[in-house]
């Protein structure tokens, strides 16, 4: 077990280094630089500013400087948000993205599992069909389209929720729903399939023969096995929710790191975009590791190797 973790950790460092290198050279390969704004300062001034930020040095030197900074955990100051260091920006944004992600996940699980179970029990009925149609629509529609409908409906026509911004929980309901909806749809389908598999098994028939109520059979016996596909989906699902928030954060003006990710690349904010890339890489890697660990515990046949 410890051996396994140590190995995975070593792989993570290697992965981070490769991702760092690719991102560094990609960022520098695209035209433009962090100092390009509407107005250019006179060339003399621009040169002095570039010198200050080491942008005049050869590329390999810049690479080594930034690599050194990242290794020590210091990403340096942001170019565009000049009053902050990259770490400050990320620390302020991460909890907000996390809050949005958790709510979206809770909504996705609650809606998805309920809908999937109902569908499985009512198989072939109108409830099943309408839910699966909804689920298909949910998977097919990108979240920004859902967001447009939701805003029109619950902000403009029926003013129940605020249009955008950050504040209390009412600010998070719509974005979390829009972010979670495609995942809820996916989970609903997975649950339905899993449950249908389980419900035809012999031990369920035995439970029915014992005279248990159908609710007890569902929650006590069928759910455990029926939800296995959902669990294995959680790893990529969580990573998806996190990266999916880029668009949602922009539409709902949520100050999480998704917006920073996009804007820093557009602004050629070399330091901030590198910080975002590193954080996202680490997150996705850790999520996958956790899922791998969970597998071995759920399925006795999987060995940690």
């Amino acid at each position: 077990m410890w051996m396994f973790l140590a190995k995975r950790f070593a792989w993570m460092i290697l992965t981070l280094w490769i991702v760092f290198t690719i991102s560094f050279f990609l960022m520098r390969a695209i035209p433009g630089g962090p100092l390009d704004r509407d107005r250019n300062p006179p060339p003399e001034i621009k040169k002095l500013i570039e010198k200050h930020f080491d942008l005049d040095k050869p590329l390999y030197q810049q690479y080594l400087i930034q690599l050194g900074n990242v290794v020590t955990g210091d990403f340096g100051p942001s170019f565009k948000l000049a009053d902050y260091t990259v770490s400050e920006v990320l620390l302020e944004g991460l909890p907000k993205s996390f809050a949005l992600g958790v709510l979206a996940l809770i909504l996705a699980l609650a809606l998805g599992i309920t809908a999937g179970m109902v569908s499985a029990v009512e198989r072939g009925g109108w409830l099943d069909r309408s839910m699966m149609v909804l689920a298909t629509i949910g998977i097919a529609l990108p979240n920004f389209v859902i967001a447009g409908f939701m805003i029109l409906l619950f902000v403009i026509v029926f003013p129940i929720f605020p249009a955008a911004g950050w504040g209390g929980v009412d600010f998070l309901v719509l974005p979390a729903f829009c972010l979670g909806a495609p995942f809820a749809a996916y989970i609903a389908r997975l649950t339905r399939t899993g449950m249908l598999d389980v419900l035809t098994q012999d031990y369920i028939r035995t439970a029915q023969a014992k005279g248990l109520s159908s609710f007890k059979i569902l929650t006590g016996h069928a759910m455990k096995g029926g939800l296995l596909p959902v669990v294995s989906f959680l790893g990529p699902g969580i990573a998806g929710i996190m990266t999916g928030s880029l668009v949602i954060e922009k539409i709902f003006a949520i100050p999480g790191i998704g917006t920073h990710f996009v804007q820093s690349a557009l602004n050629r904010d070399y330091t901030l975009s590198m910080g975002c890339v590193m954080v996202f890489t680490t997150l996705v890697y850790v999520m996958n590791l956790l899922v791998d660990l969970a597998y071995t515990l759920l399925d006795p046949r999987v060995e940690l190797e």
Binding site: D38, P41, L81
Partner: protein, 545 residues
């Protein structure tokens, strides 16, 4: 058995994380609504006057800091700010500002001439220099000090002989200097705080300002809240207690916030709803000191294109073939005026030249003559470069079809996001590129000096000694009327060269609620929150409807 227990623990742990995370997510508190809120279309770069260069930063800086003068909210004439009065020497080269006795920093200490001396010295010090530092290049030795050619600041024409007097000496008279003294890069900073907390002085915990408001909350890409500063010299005339500045990138989101009453003012709108919004009385669209144009590259790396676009008749033909009225009427639709000059109208005392109007017949004549002389049977295909935006694309499409129809040029559209677009212009990797310029101050010079040889914003490769000399001569001219005449001559010259194809003059696109008072339209779309107040009665009434 053991495995089962661990499995349950993991499931439990997962639920616990979700639960705690959920509680955390819904525990965020909402700040009470501010007296007045508005949307700034992007997160500001900084509140350090030395680091800023954009309009969004100006909106925030005017809240928490104040320069020597402020601009009249209607006419933009200089009004007393930190300086209660000023004297200008006979030769127009020396300005002496008298700092008011009751000028205070928010910590209660006095604002003195030495504060301005410190701040302007800091502004010019190349460690690195401010992006806007050429604002003070016309000060005696300002440029030399700023570009490391002079080490001794005492030789620079910025002096504070006592607490009250702040003296600025110029190489030449600078006619628009009293516009610059209210311009945000030249605002002062609080010396003690900057020196004690060099990394943190702009955070709300430390920030000391001299403006009408104090920095209270600053949350990245969310909001910046300011509260009234009781130590401000004119505090009795400041009516708002709290102001929220929301950083919202998406224009549709900003409009939603406005329509649902979260904010009272947005500074821009999504282009596709112009027609609907134009019907509303709270959509404010009026003359704005800005020009939308296309640049023509004279240093094209492709030799055929360079020869082709290097012929002034071709450039003129491109201009005459453009029906700019159609663009204003069918594309931009917010009341923009077709442009026939580089300097927009509305600058007091300036009578600039005007180009003739749309003339497709003349365009064709010029074009055919040029083609014949160049020995070309048909024009080379050209590319229009623009930065990604629906509005720019729509306009570029009209140009494409008009030029194809009138002159038979094959046009390709090339949209790039901002950084790549800027890089392409700087390295002259384009044929024709969309551009725009918003005036920094109320003077034709702000629209003309960028076409000088080698200017960082020229981007066309246009280099004309006579033009450079005219701009230089205008800078040295003492008589204001004569100076404007020289500038008009310069504008005529750059228009004749036709390196810029004017399309239209900008209009402002504000949405502002009727209960916001003391907010006036002006030529630079510049608004001082110290003059703004909210008619709460009117607001309450409209909330009831």
């Amino acid at each position: 058995m053991k495995r089962d227990r661990i499995r349950n623990m993991i499931a439990l742990g997962f639920v616990a994380v979700l639960f705690v995370g959920g509680i955390f997510a819904i525990s965020g508190a909402t700040l009470p609504q501010a007296d007045f809120s508005f949307v700034n279309p992007t997160e500001i770069e900084s509140i350090d006057p030395k680091k800023v260069s954009g309009v969004p930063e100006g909106r925030v800086l005017r809240l928490v800091l104040e320069g020597l003068t402020v601009a009249d909210p209607k006419t933009l004439e200089p009004l007393p700010g930190m300086a209660e009065s000023w004297d200008i020497s006979e030769d127009g080269r020396t300005y002496t500002f008298h700092i008011r006795d009751d000028a205070r920093w928010s910590d209660g200490s006095r604002v003195t001439a030495h504060d301005f001396y410190y701040s302007w010295k800091r502004f010019l010090t190349p460690d690195p220099p401010a992006k806007y530092s050429n604002l003070l290049w016309q000060v005696v030795n300002g440029k030399a000090y700023n570009t490391l050619k002079l080490k001794d600041f005492s030789k620079v024409g910025i002096k504070a002989p006592n607490d009250r007097d702040f003296v600025v000496q110029f190489e030449h008279p600078v006619a628009y200097f009293l516009d610059l003294t209210s311009f945000y890069p030249l605002f002062p900073v609080h010396k003690q705080t900057v020196e004690r907390h060099p990394q943190d002085w702009y955070k709300p915990e430390y920030f000391v300002g001299n403006g009408p408001f104090l920095l209270a909350v600053r949350s990245i890409r969310d909001r910046l809240r300011v509260v009234k500063n009781p130590n401000y010299w004119d505090a009795k005339n400041v009516k708002l207690q709290t102001i929220d500045v929301l950083a919202v990138e998406d224009r549709v989101t900003a409009l939603n916030l406005y329509l649902t009453g979260t904010v009272d003012w947005i500074t821009d709108i999504p282009i596709h709803v112009v027609t609907d919004l134009k019907e509303r009385p709270d959509f404010q669209h009026e003359q704005y000191l800005g020009n939308y144009f296309y640049r023509i590259n004279l240093e094209n790396p492709d030799e055929t294109k360079r020869k082709f676009l290097g012929d002034v008749r071709v450039r003129k033909a491109l201009y005459f073939a453009l029906n700019r009225k159609q663009i204003c009427k069918q594309v931009t639709k917010a009341g923009e005026v077709p442009a026939r000059s580089i300097v927009p109208p509305g600058l007091p005392g300036y009578e600039g030249p005007k180009l003739p109007d749309y003339d497709p017949k003349k365009a064709k004549e010029l074009f055919d003559a040029a083609l014949a002389d160049l020995g070309m049977s048909k024009p080379p295909p050209l590319t229009i470069l623009y930065n990604t935006s629906d509005a720019h694309r729509d306009i570029a499409e009209v140009l494409q079809s008009q030029w194809r129809k009138a002159l038979g040029i094959e046009i390709r559209l090339d949209n790039q996001e901002w950084g790549s677009y800027m890089a392409a212009m700087e390295t002259r990797q384009y044929d024709i590129a969309r551009g725009g310029w918003i005036g920094d101050y109320s003077d034709p010079n702000t629209f003309l000096d960028l076409w000088r040889t080698g200017d960082g914003n020229n981007h066309t490769g246009y280099s004309d000694k006579e033009y450079d000399d005219l701009i230089g001569a205008a800078g040295a001219e003492k008589d204001p009327a004569k100076r404007l005449k020289i500038l008009a001559k310069a504008e005529q010259r750059v228009l004749d060269a036709m390196i810029v194809l004017p399309i239209y003059y900008y209009v402002t696109k504000n949405m502002i609620r009727p209960w916001v008072k003391g907010w006036y339209h002006n030529n630079q779309d510049m608004h001082y929150p110290k003059f703004i107040w909210v008619d709460k009665h009117l607001r309450a009434l409209s909330a009831k409807d």
